[in-house]
């Protein structure tokens, strides 16, 4: 469904992402694990054409989207939640969600607000709150709701658990899984939280200094005990 690379990405002269290839099947959940600053966010922004200079192909549902601007990629079915969430502070929760409707395809209308509140019940009570009045966990939930509102084929979540309390992280994992199970939405998650990533995905890539150092299922990951120590422990 989403075939990336082999891809190189640069900020100025810095070669951040190096020869990275990843694929995500229909409805599949895939994690990208790695420490801070190894290129996870740059990879996501490259997939969305949101900043870095990118060299290499990106295909979505077989269609070449290399060179398309961000908005066109969103409209072709990529729902992106950036690391810093970027909720619009002056808009209400309901208005923030509705902003995601711009990505809906002509042949596939967006979800209704009612659908969204079904997936994320917490947002129902918050719908008239403004973006600046939300806690970090609420903002994260809202950012995800906004990204799925336009019915994407693939959801891209950049460090969704960053800065969230453990109990909220558990809640988030449950809701994401329930949504994906019901709608068959593929999902690419960049994470440092191994537990959360394991709950939400079927396989993973491990990235270090812009290079993929491991790719496989969670069982294969667990079989190599040193991986976590070498590439994830602080």
């Amino acid at each position: 469904m989403l075939d990336v690379g082999p891809l190189d990405a640069f900020y100025g002269d810095s070669h951040i992402v190096q020869n990275v290839s990843i694929t995500i099947g229909d409805g599949e959940g895939v994690a990208i694990l790695g420490r801070n600053g190894v290129g996870k966010s740059t990879l996501f922004k490259s997939i969305m054409n949101g900043g870095p200079r990118v060299d290499g192909p990106i295909r979505l549902r077989g269609e070449d989207i290399t060179g398309l601007p961000s908005f066109a990629r969103a409209r072709r079915g990529l729902g992106f939640v950036p690391e810093d969430r970027r909720i619009y502070p002056h808009l209400t929760v309901a208005e923030n969600i509705a902003m995601g409707g711009h990505a809906a395809r002509a042949d596939r209308p967006p979800y209704t607000l009612e659908d969204i509140f079904g997936f994320f019940p917490l947002l129902r009570d918050l719908q008239t709150r403004r973006g600046f009045e939300l806690s970090g966990g609420q903002q994260q939930l809202l950012a995800i709701a906004r990204a799925i509102y336009g019915r994407p084929d693939c959801l891209l979540l950049d460090e969704p658990t960053e800065g969230l309390a453990p109990v909220i992280v558990e809640d988030l994992a449950r809701q994401i899984n329930a949504f994906r199970a019901a709608n068959g939405t593929a999902c690419l998650i960049a994470e440092q939280n191994v537990r959360f990533a394991r709950t939400c995905t079927e396989r993973l890539y491990l990235i270090d200094s812009g290079v993929i150092v491991f790719s496989g299922t969670w069982a294969e990951f667990d079989a190599q005990a040193d991986l976590q120590q070498r590439y994830l422990a602080v």
Partner: protein, 294 residues
Amino acid sequence: MLAEFLSPLFNGLFSAMVVFLFATGLTLIFGILRILNFAHGGFFMLGAYLAFTLVRLIGGDMSIASYLLVSIAAGIAVGFCGLVVERLIFRRLQHVDEAYSLIATYALLLISEGAVKAIWGVSFHSATTPSALGSAVVVGDLVMPVFAIFIIALGVLCYAVLEWILQHTAVGKLMKSLASDPWMAGMLGINVPRFYAWIVVIGFFLAGLAGGLLLPNQTLSPNLASVFVVQAFGVLIVGGMGNIRGAFLASILLCVIDSYGSIVFSQVPGIFFYVAMAVMLLARPQGLIAGARL
């Protein structure tokens, strides 16, 4: 007695709305695209000259309706210029240093001045005020020209319409969202470049419209481009860098202070606009309405 106190207020409000009408397009483009358009005055002037030519073609005395229609026609023509300018110039300024914006729009100002000289020549022209707006209202010893009352009303109306659009319509909320975070808007599937093109067209339309509306008040010469620019920049900065409500309030504040100041210190007329601006920037360097764009 009455006139001594109220006449400066009235005159101040009149110049405030003249400056505000001039500054709306400038404020809108700066608020959303973050491009400080030095050429704004040039396209305001182009609007005034186009309206002048239309008035000549129609001939005779103008009704208020034809005066408004001529101004709108001038606005639409200048809006088309905006479309061309956006394609050729503004689109290329999005991802480069601000210094390039200043140079490019300053060059555009020179081009617009040159175009006006080439088409209409360097001699002075003036249009007469429509006779329906030519009289004055007298209250006690306070004399208020109808044209000035009309411009004040138009300025307030223009502000009210823009404010209503920004605060209460879906388009307005979208404009504020794009002003505050265009990157995320693109990620959510909004065609940001096309949206920017519309804003430039609307900004230029407002410049041309203001040129037509203020025509009866102006002497046409190629210097018209720079008459209001400095005051408009002052209003833009004091208002809070691209905030329509801020620009409206700043226009009133600065122009009314200037108007009273010029009565008290009549040997230095016009200086109090800048004194008030300097004081405001010292007291509130972030502007009257800071934080919120538009």
